[in-house]
């Protein structure tokens, strides 16, 4: 039987603040266990939470980036459940009145042909609310260790509508979301570091049916490939149950990476009764509309909007824009280079190909991180390079050498050309002399050319280029040889 798949995602993103959500203890990934703690983090008797305003600011920007409506007033609730990683055994969160309402983000479904744009669509969001991260448990063979460093880190929980219908859409959504969050500077979204975590709700219904089927919630999806695998596994599993006339039970399931399958954590019957109620220790937040507008006005251009602009204004191909635009730094580097010299296509190629290649090698050789900001190159380097290619100072051939050199040394390309004397030679006397020698030295090639074999002339260029170390202007050389042979 055929089914419609309905997928909704809940994404927890750690917001990049220096200090925690409700206390001034700092947070940084990978610190020694229990060194980023204070009385509030530990939930010691007598402690009280105090809101970190920076978390509100950043989450507001996130909401605006994702097209959410920013609430007039947002409030704090307690979500009550016992777990050893939760210092107070309740989580401060926003249940009744979240900071961000609705929203939708544009996604691109990967096209079979990698070099062509895939289909675009918008995925609806339900809300974004702020809450605090619990601590970290390490399960050993006989007991469990608790590190409270992570406890109290601000989380933005992004909840989508059940608006996706395949693992591919879910993956496309996560990629688009990551790009938007990183663009807005809210988080680096490093899933290995737990900066972005994903739960997936999956349900099946008979094709065309209006009524949603029973959903299951998949937890612990800490990489995009896990999300894909877990969703595909779950679609299979539910389809098998339904095919055999069985019923899917509403439950929470845990994805096991090693075994490549999921197993039930708890079913609806024993599901938590969280006893949400307004937190009496924290006052509600009334959003200042002028501040919200300020934040809105400072948002960066969204990646897909930028991609459309690059294709329209600069005539860049998809293969290039799809490399440049998902990466804010790279695309801004590209546009900055245009200010030195306005040659979009040429510069885009150097940024999307040569620059990334050099960065990749460098990374491979462990010399530096695969990151534009950490390379010695500035936009001016590549702008200048483009300039001296187009004004005929050097050939593209020579440019390759110059690029590698400037990437390594950080010297400006024109300086390198000077120093190494790579300037393209336009001295016709010298080249003419060399051409005559070449013609004299290879009557066979000359003969073939005269018999109409155009290509044969290349055999004559070789020695001239060799003699000028490649600096002879190729165009000029071509003309000159033909002229001399015809005359002769």
């Amino acid at each position: 039987m055929d089914y419609d798949v309905v997928i909704g995602l809940e994404i927890h993103v750690q917001i990049k603040t220096r200090t925690k959500m409700f206390t001034a203890a700092p947070y940084s990934y990978g610190a020694e266990p229990n060194t980023l703690i204070d009385p509030v983090v530990l939930g010691l008797p007598g402690t009280l939470p105090v809101l970190n305003h920076e978390a509100i600011e950043k989450c507001t920007s996130l909401g605006l980036m994702l097209g959410c409506e920013i609430a007039e007033v947002c409030k704090w609730d307690r979500k009550n459940y016992f777990y050893p990683d939760s210092p107070k055994n309740y989580q401060l969160t926003q249940n009744e009145q979240p900071l961000c309402i609705g929203g939708e983000i544009e996604i691109e479904l990967a096209d079979a042909a990698r070099n062509a744009a895939g289909e675009h669509r918008w995925v609806k969001l339900n809300r974004i609310h702020l809450e605090e991260d619990p601590g970290k448990l390490t399960h050993e063979s006989f007991d469990t260790l608790i590190d409270f460093n992570r406890a109290g880190v601000p989380l933005a929980e992004i909840v989508t509508e059940p608006d996706m219908s395949s693992s591919a859409e879910a993956v496309a959504f996560l990629n688009a979301l990551r790009n938007l969050i990183i663009y807005a500077g809210i988080s680096d979204c490093d899933m290995e570091k737990g900066q972005l975590r994903c739960d997936a709700n999956v349900s099946l219904k008979p094709k065309g049916s209006e009524t949603l089927g029973t959903r299951t919630e998949m937890k612990n999806l800490n990489s995009i490939s896990n999300v894909k695998a877990a969703i595909e596994y779950e679609i299979e599993r539910q389809a098998d149950i339904l095919d055999e006339g069985g019923e899917v039970t509403q439950e929470t399931r845990r994805w096991d990476v090693d075994q490549g399958c999921s197993f039930s954590l708890r079913s609806k019957e024993e599901a938590h009764d969280y006893r949400y109620f307004p937190d009496p220790d924290l006052m509600p937040v009334q959003m200042d509309r002028t501040r919200v507008d300020e934040l809105k006005s400072t948002l960066p251009e969204r990646p897909f909007d930028k991609q459309r602009r690059f294709e329209a204004d600069f005539g860049l191909p998809y293969t290039v824009t799809t490399v440049l635009c998902p990466n804010r730094e790279l695309s801004e580097f590209f546009e900055a280079a245009l200010e030195t010299h306005n040659a979009p296509k040429l510069i885009a190629n150097y940024v999307a190909n040569d620059l990334l290649r050099e960065l990749a090698d460098a990374a491979a050789h462990g010399e530096q991180d695969l990151d534009v900001s950490e390379s010695k190159l500035t936009p001016a380097h590549i702008g200048t390079l483009a300039k001296i290619i187009e004004d005929g100072t050097i050939s593209k051939q020579i440019a390759k050498e110059v690029f590698t050199d400037m990437f390594a040394t950080g010297e400006m390309p024109d300086a390198i050309v000077e120093k190494k004397g790579l300037k393209q030679s336009n001295d016709s006397e010298e080249i003419e002399a060399l051409c005559r020698d070449a013609i004299a030295g290879n009557p066979k090639a000359v003969g073939q050319y005269k018999d109409g074999n155009e290509k044969a002339i290349n055999a004559l260029k070789g020695p001239v280029m060799k003699a000028t170390k490649g600096k002879a202007n190729p165009a000029m050389l071509d003309q000159l040889l033909k002229k001399l042979i015809d005359e002769g």
């Binding site: 200090t19 703690i37 009385p39």
Partner: protein, 97 residues
Amino acid sequence: MSTKPHIDIDYVANLARIELSDDEKAKLGGQLDDILGYFEKLNAVDVDGVEPMAHAQAVYNVWREGDEAGETYAPEVLKKMAPEFRDGQVVVPKVVE
């Protein structure tokens, strides 16, 4: 709440994570049902359109500015109070999911 209110003591005690002896359950259950009966008074008042009161003072936007890091405790502070501690971390019996 027309019928006499009654607490499902096992369900609630489990939610509250409190182990109760059978005697405690019997005694508590009875007392709590009486108390809930006394609460029935509240149904007499009309609360339509009344804004729920969660705080004694109506104050907004109380927060910390600047996002500047404050003081932290050394792990030893936690070690001193924790019932069991190993490798800089609090130890609990194995968590089984």
